[in-house]
């Protein structure tokens, strides 16, 4: 028998764990944007070495499954002397991975900005740094907004894997509840719908923001 009671009883616990899911995806996305902007600048740079390095970074973080990246971060970083608490390790790894994808999003958006703007900005004596921060990035964020929101949704889903570094977010909590109540179907479905609800809200908020920005 399908037991709705189990879901109702354990929903508050699951919602509590959802804070970590949100925290990791939002902070991971923020870190990904900052690092992604740097990577994107490197990828568009005139220097071959910088372009190569950015290309290598993107190819690595997009080529290796996130589950393996998380374990590498967990096992390997302390060996080279970097030991971070679990939550920081999770955010850091998710953010490093997001940066690879977001740098591509930003690059696409910057390519969509008319070249004349950059030329004009440089012509009136703006420094390359100012050009990036004041002209290119704000527009790239706006043009890339749908893709960035999409990336955030991907991160909410990807955060289900941080269980392996010791974060009790929605998925880990649902495993725990399922194993003590033996109500696998109910609890995992509840977890699935919780993710779905979060992602639908993010998608709706993204569309709202998009409309605001275009008006």
């Amino acid at each position: 028998m399908f037991s709705f009671q189990t879901i109702v009883e354990n929903l508050p616990t699951l919602l509590g764990a959802a804070r970590y899911t949100l925290l990791i995806s939002v902070l991971g996305c923020a870190q990904g944007l900052i690092l992604g902007a740097l990577l994107c600048a490197a990828a568009l740079s005139k220097r071959t070495a910088l372009r190569r390095a950015a290309g290598l970074y993107v190819s690595f973080f997009r080529g290796v499954p996130l589950l393996i990246q998380l374990l590498v971060a967990y096992y390997l970083l302390p060996v080279v002397g970097i030991n971070v608490p679990p939550l920081a390790a999770a955010v850091l790894t998710v953010g490093l991975c997001a940066a690879a994808y977001l740098s591509e999003v930003l690059r696409g958006s910057i390519n969509a900005i008319p070249k004349g703007q950059a030329e004009a900005a440089l012509a009136i004596g703006m420094s390359p740094g100012d050009l990036w921060v004041r002209v290119l990035l704000p527009q790239a964020l706006k043009i890339g907004l749908p893709a960035i929101v999409n990336e955030l949704i991907l991160l909410v889903k990807a955060s289900s894997l941080v269980t392996v570094v010791g974060i009790v977010e929605i998925t880990r909590m649902s495993q725990s509840i399922a194993s003590s109540t033996y109500r696998y179907l109910e609890i995992y479905l509840a977890a699935a719908f919780l993710y779905l609800a979060i992602n639908l809200v993010i998608a709706a908020a993204g569309r709202l923001l998009e409309r605001r920005l275009t008006v």
């Binding site: 900052i34 096992y75 002397g81 920081a88 390790a89 392996v164 509840i177 194993s179």
Partner: protein, 270 residues
């Protein structure tokens, strides 16, 4: 770890980098006493030793370690990790101490510092109530689940060879194996006696233990890093003996396993 505190430390990950203290002569006990807390990791899906109830960590390990932390005069901090991440995490100093019950084996003792035994861990089979096994030998030709990478797995494999063939399926956690036993994917699950007794005690209509245990007598203990953790292990052993002698151990055993048993107060032969 509260959300607010961790939020600050997690901000962009990078800001929270801390370098690990190195140095071969580090003395973990005084470090822990200086910090006033000990971070212990376990997989909180291992009833009755470690489990989560309504999001809170409970179990035999928790109760026992709360007592030990009191003896040491430090605050315990508990971390939940999948079993496959626990020993590697200990090696790279992700936390101070492994609170998961680790079966004592000679290979592991070469690599890690074991505390005194905290419980018996001899391997037995559990089947669905009403199943056709009456003795462990009946496992011949059956499909049996076991947690991967555990000492129980090694014993099950050896036993399978001895009685002439057991189909073994590996699982990430014992819970998954029990679930598959319940759904009929498995005929039996091999595991340590205290876990199986607890399972059968809490859900007698679904599970029953096949008596007697088939494995050679083994024990569960906790684990610290070798060298650096030696002082910590000595202090914990001292507390364990005290807790056994004043009867607190027996009370906890009654509470979680249903019966009190004597434990060795010296390191058993491995």
């Amino acid at each position: 770890m509260t959300l607010r505190l961790s939020l600050k430390s997690a901000l962009f990950g990078l800001s929270a980098l801390t370098l690990t203290a190195s140095g071969a002569l580090a003395d973990q006990l005084s470090d822990i006493k200086a910090a006033g807390k000990i971070v212990a990791a376990t997989e909180m899906h291992y009833a009755p030793f470690d489990m989560l109830e309504k999001g809170e960590y409970v179990g035999f390990d928790r109760d026992l370690f709360d007592e030990i932390a009191k003896e040491l005069g430090v605050t315990p901090e508990y971390q939940d990790l999948p079993w496959t991440s626990i020993l590697p995490g200990l090696e790279v100093s992700k936390f101070d101490f492994v609170l998961a019950p680790v079966t004592m084996t000679a290979e592991r003792a070469e690599r890690y510092a074991f505390t005194l035994p905290i419980s018996d861990s001899t391997v037995a089979f559990v089947q669905r109530t009403g199943g056709d096994m009456t003795a462990p030998e009946d496992a011949k030709g059956k499909t049996v689940g076991v947690q991967k990478g555990t000492a129980q797995q090694a014993q099950l494999e050896a036993y399978g060879e001895k009685i002439g063939g057991i189909k073994i399926k590996e699982y990430g956690t014992p819970d998954e194996a029990y679930a598959d036993l319940m759904t009929g994917r498995l005929d039996a699950v091999a595991g340590s006696a205290p876990l199986l007794d607890y399972l059968a005690k809490t859900r007698p209509e679904q599970f029953s233990v096949v008596k007697p245990p088939f494995g050679k007598p083994t024990y569960f203990a906790w684990v610290a890093r070798k060298g650096e953790g030696d002082t910590l292990v000595a202090a914990i052993n001292e507390a364990l003996i005290k807790i056994q002698d004043d009867g607190r151990m027996a009370a906890l055993q009654e509470k979680w396993f249903g019966a009190a048993t004597e434990l060795p107060q010296e390191m058993p032969e491995l």
